[in-house]
Symmetry: C2
Subunit: 360 residues, 2 copies
């Protein structure tokens, strides 16, 4: 029985989301290397194996260590943290480890300290502007490649990009526009460098692009992650329907305030994290309340949403005519704004059949 | 050696912060019942004992269970979650447990299910507008008290308030104004109910008020929590100096982008949480960078701040003239915006002498 904030996972929906993306990758003849930072769970990871997944992406060496018991080809899609060379060497001894490089300093360090073979991607900035080498800086790319030749343990695998600016979109068309622009920056690199590196691949990520687009011309590999759960952010971007969201926060009502049409739940920032959506001016939304007994597209209860959160408290706005339907001790089901962060805060999942699923 | 995002704790600063607040409480003849939700650590909790602290506050039954090995008088400053009645009964058997009530429904439930004596406070809303009974609703208060008389296991202890709206202040004077207004709403309750309940106490919280004000007339107990660490939010409110902040995030540099005067660190939302400050229009600040080798008030490096964070990435803005001073693999020291949430994300502390301090 659920008595406190709990992250419920719908296994069937997860598996549908995985199947859909796996089939898309297959149809487009893409390597499907899902990002496991969203779920960070060995057990959920195993659900991917039924769909032929053999290679994965993670965003830290800790995650790579955790998954290395079950997966032997892992890309750490985060610029190499040279201070963790010990973990890199440990992983490189036992699995195919692919890392991200974007500077000569990192290459020099690895050349001096690597003990086992490692593949590397050069991280390319295709417009997100977070990190990576500009695709126009071919001199910088050439310098990294030249430097890497000095190390017999470093093998150039290709270029890697993450069009994270799709998260700022608010429609499918906007996603497609950002995606097409990103591809136009990214894909010419293959031709440019294929003479010297005929086997290089282009690895491309982000759930919005991979969910919405059907154009992956020039791309060899995709690395979406969030799609396994989806969430409200992805829904309002245009990546998924409400019914495809596979995780729900369940929280008890601890106080009811009819005078202000608000309900207080046990469930706050330490459970949901603090990501929010702004759908109307000045109206922050930290989650939408659903009717858990239906699975129709109208399962969201109208005008009922998580309007603010502090450390352990959450306040739900409820329409005046509905407030009398709620009771202290009742469990409220809430779709999260950002599933990756909520799952990271909650640290475990409960399935519909009350089974606990552990994670890192 | 630190190799990845780490929360460093300065034990000496923590103890100074505790001493200062304990002395203030003593001088004002207040019961000092610090809130332990900020640190959530048995070991840090023990530092309070040297200053005569015997009673504590927490915000969940899980925290109460964790601390009940070491503390035998605990207030759970969160409206009772009736679904956790099992934990309530378990705690009430072994310690003095004080809970928060704000509705008759909760009283009725407890009357039917309590197995051991429990003290309760009535939660009063003194203007924060999150939860609690309005101090003007004496009818509601009377109804709760009357209902509680039916249970021989429920003992009325007094009224409890949290002036959380001091967090919206931006100066000491604003804090004092909010605090005085809150007191004027809160303290009359004592006179109103002292005929029937001569031993009732008024318990009052929040770090800004307790740090800044010297007027606690009518109050019997204070429950500040954040002051043990302080943080940037508290600093800009006016609660503390920069040098009183006792926790620092330490994160490795993984990429440097001189073309945009930015540094990429390993350290993101899963480490810092996502609270931010807006000090100038449209400029979000997720942390300030300090020079860890000095302890002067000018230890913050000018115009150098954590400007954005995603799951594992953080981007630091650096003045053009400084960017060449940074190297890949260097550790950056960052003052957090909200210490409670950062500590909750990090789950442990490292002291200056490299000792690990565990927490819930």
């Amino acid at each position: 029985m659920i008595t406190k904030p709990t992250l419920l996972i719908d296994k069937e929906k997860c598996q549908k989301n995985i199947r859909k993306m796996a089939l898309k990758a297959e149809k487009q003849q893409l390597i499907f290397r899902p990002h496991f930072k969203t779920h960070q769970s060995i057990e959920i990871g195993n659900w991917f194996k039924a769909f032929g997944v053999k290679k994965i992406t993670v965003s830290s060496l800790d995650m790579a260590m955790y998954f290395s018991k079950d997966w032997n080809d892992i890309t750490v899609a985060f610029p190499v943290n040279i201070l963790e060379i010990k973990q890199i060497n440990q992983l490189a001894r036992t699995i195919t480890l692919n890392i991200l490089i974007e500077s000569i300093d990192t290459v020099s360090f690895l050349e001096a300290h690597l003990q086992s073979p490692v593949n590397f991607f050069i991280k390319i900035d295709v417009g997100y502007n977070r990190t990576g080498v500009s695709p126009h800086h071919t001199d910088k790319i050439n310098n990294i490649l030249k430097a890497s030749n000095a190390s017999s343990l470093l093998t150039f695998k290709g270029f890697l990009a993450h069009a994270g600016h799709t998260y700022q979109c608010r429609s499918k068309q906007e996603i497609i526009d950002v995606h097409e622009k990103a591809l136009s920056l990214f894909t010419p690199l293959k031709k440019q460098f294929s003479t010297l590196y005929p086997d290089l691949i282009l690895s491309y990520g982000d759930t919005p692009s991979c969910s919405v687009s059907d154009n992956f011309n020039g791309i060899d590999e995709i690395r979406p992650g969030n799609f396994v759960f989806y969430d409200l952010t992805q829904h309002y971007i245009g990546s998924n329907t409400i019914n495809e969201i596979a995780v729900t926060m369940v929280c008890p009502i601890v106080a009811i305030h009819p005078e202000k049409n608000e309900i207080l739940i046990y469930g706050g920032g330490v459970h949901f994290s603090k990501d929010y959506l702004i759908l109307e001016e000045d109206k922050k939304i930290y989650g939408l309340i659903i009717d858990p007994t239906t699975n129709t597209p109208t399962r969201c209860i109208p005008d009922t949403y998580l309007k603010s959160i502090s450390q352990e408290h959450g306040i739900i706005a409820v329409p005046e005519q509905d407030i009398s339907q709620y009771n202290i001790g009742q469990l409220i089901h809430i779709l999260p704004v950002h599933a990756c962060m909520t799952a990271n805060s909650m640290k475990k999942y409960i399935t519909n059949s009350q089974k606990t699923i552990e994670r890192l």
